[in-house]
Symmetry: C2
């Protein structure tokens, strides 16, 4: 039962970032997003990925690889859009 | 060593939400935030909290209680601000 709850939790906290990544992709609007949220969160998810590799735990590795990709995409868009708005 | 990496990862993915909660508190701007990110993420973090309770693992319980509070705060502001803008 615990493993089921853990898997559902991992799945939800991973896919949760898909709608935000999609919204940023469609709107190119990132003003209200906190740069530090995605900077610190990406670093934290990267650490979870290292943790999963150390423990040879594939669910942790897979979930955090996906979340890292989504979080870094949003971070990249946030930085590039903010910079382009500054240069106008 | 693994426990250290896991604790740093848990700490970072918890405190990451503080700057976003602060930004929402200060600016009252949530348009660019995805409602589904904070809805699904809150649900996922709640499941991690249940997981921590089942495993009697206090670091997991503490980290996810803090993250749940921050995520629900942002979700509440997102819903209330979006609704108030619709009623104008």
């Amino acid at each position: 039962m615990q493993e089921l709850v853990g898997s559902i939790a991992a799945f939800l906290t991973t896919v949760a970032f898909v709608p935000q990544a999609y919204k940023v992709y469609k709107t190119n609007q990132t003003k209200d997003l906190s740069l530090f949220l995605f900077l610190i969160f990406s670093l934290g998810v990267f650490m979870w990925l290292i943790y999963g590799i150390m423990k040879e735990d594939s669910p942790i590795m897979i979930a955090n690889s996906i979340t890292l990709f989504l979080s870094l995409y949003i971070l990249y868009k946030k930085i590039s859009i903010d910079n382009s708005e500054k240069s106008i």
